[in-house]
Amino acid sequence: MVSGLINENPIIYPKKERRLRTDSSNTDEFTPEPIDQLEIFDHIRDIKDPEHPNTLEDLRVVTEDSVEVDDDNSYVRVTFTPTMEHCSMATIIGLCVRVKLLRSLPARYKIDIRVAPGSHATEDAVNKQLNDKERVAAALENPNLVEMVDECLLPSAE
């Protein structure tokens, strides 16, 4: 039986209960809240894996701790763990994370995306591609690729 999927049996982790935000220290409604780790994780947790009907959170491709943010310096780094070492979908996943953050975060943000060290066979090559903005720009002018990315970013109907 040949199904063509790279990872036929991904591990799906139990869904974590979502924390309600109860931070009431800032009572001034006009001052923007600093963007924190959870807010950024909320933007990317529901991105669908390109191959399976599961989210990046379900598959532990991204976790809250995989987001490092420094709001004062408008910097974020997301470290994601592909489900398999030779996963050729790694660049697509990275691209989806970047596009979601580009669309969700203020323009002042500098975004770095990388695969978790040791989690992928061609880690350096993947990281280099994901962080070359000219390559990313050209890729996003490819309608087929954009369609694939938009599919992954569509909210699931649950």
């Binding site: 323009a107 002042r108 500098k110 280099k128 962080n131 070359d132 720009a137 050209a138 002018e141």
Partner: protein
């Protein structure tokens, strides 16, 4: 007088709005400047698939958009370059083609389209005499085109020695020697022994030559052509030099060598570096800043450079290109950014 002793600042003269997407590059028309008695002209190219031509009015001194070159490229226009005569503008696009536009004063017409690259064209450069054009692409190749009579362009060479995406090509300012830099972290030098159009790679400047450890984004030569600066994703600028007199007189290629590395000044990728006629190196980086560097003239241990000034938040986003104007002594700098703006700056003494 030593520039470091003067109290200099980078003053924003004007912000040029109009592009509807990021601006990748700017290019000053070489034959128009205040010194020539002609209004300075600047071209900018963008992710909105167009090229805009900006001119400074001699009356009001303000810059306006004279023309928009559109409906030709179907994708991002990544870079543009004026021919030495100022009559032609070459435009390199992600659509895989290079456009050649003729300047008819108030209007531009696309007189030729160069095809051949397999995918995005990243950069285009004219040699000093305007007899050759070079282009490079993500297809890893560098093409040299011969400029013939009657708006004809003929491919003279397809050079395939880079192992990755080639980011920029730049002809030497005085000799027909071509330089290219790439995602493969190297700079390659292409030379034709008998000046017969047979170009070959005569040198590769990589990590083993004190070269860059990541993508090299740009190359710029000083006015005399004996030095060049390169900038990289490794967040350094590197200065290289050669014995230009020996090179110009002899039959032989004289190799380039590393002179100096400027590290610790940039926090993000450096996308552009440009060497002015009066020896100021400008850099544009992914931290939204423009930096100016000058020779420290501290020649005890060889060449060294000092940071003359840093302009934080020069733009609201990455600075993709910095270009000094060609005029003598006016110290005008143009910059292009992901924020969709082109800005004109002047180096001036603080009041």
């Amino acid at each position: 007088m030593d520039l470091m002793e003067k109290n200099l600042e980078l003053v924003e003269i004007q912000k040029l709005e109009g592009h509807t997407d990021r601006v990748w590059s700017v290019a000053w028309n070489p034959v128009s400047s205040h010194a020539d008695g002609v209004s300075p002209i600047l071209a900018s190219c963008s992710g909105d698939n167009t090229v805009r031509i900006w001119e400074q009015s001699s009356l009001s001194r303000s810059w306006t958009c004279k023309t928009v070159l559109e409906e030709t490229h179907t994708r991002t226009v990544r870079s543009c370059a004026w021919s030495p005569s100022g009559e032609l503008l070459a435009t390199a696009s992600f659509d895989g083609t290079t456009g050649i536009w003729k300047n008819y004063g108030s209007d531009f017409e696309c007189i030729a389209t160069l095809e051949g690259h397999e995918n995005e064209v990243k950069s285009v450069s004219w040699n000093a005499s305007g007899s050759y054009l070079a282009t490079c692409s993500r297809d890893k190749s560098v093409w040299i085109w011969e400029v013939l009579e009657g708006n004809e362009y003929e491919c003279a060479a397809v050079l395939s020695e880079h192992t990755q995406d080639v980011k920029m090509v730049q002809w030497h300012p005085t000799m027909d020697v071509l330089f290219s830099c790439s995602y493969d972290d190297t700079i390659k030098v292409w030379w034709s022994q008998d000046c017969d159009g047979e170009f070959e790679c005569v040198q590769t400047l990589g990590e083993s030559n004190n070269g860059h450890s990541s993508t090299v984004w740009a190359i710029s030569f000083n006015a005399t052509g004996d030095k060049m600066v390169t900038c990289s994703d490794d967040r350094t600028l590197k200065i290289w030099g050669t014995d230009i007199a020996r090179m110009q007189s002899g039959e032989e290629y004289v190799p380039w060598s590393h002179l100096c590395t400027l590290s610790g000044y940039h926090d993000r990728t450096i996308y552009s570096a440009h060497w002015s006629r009066d020896d100021i190196i400008a850099s544009g980086a992914g931290d939204d800043a423009i930096r100016l560097f000058v020779d420290s003239h501290d020649s005890v241990d060889g060449l060294s450079y000092n940071l003359l000034l840093k302009k934080n938040k020069a733009h609201d986003n990455d600075v993709n290109c910095v270009q000094w104007s060609r005029g003598e002594g006016d110290r005008l700098l143009a910059s292009a950014s992901d924020d969709g703006m082109v800005k004109i700056w002047q180096v001036a003494t603080k009041p």
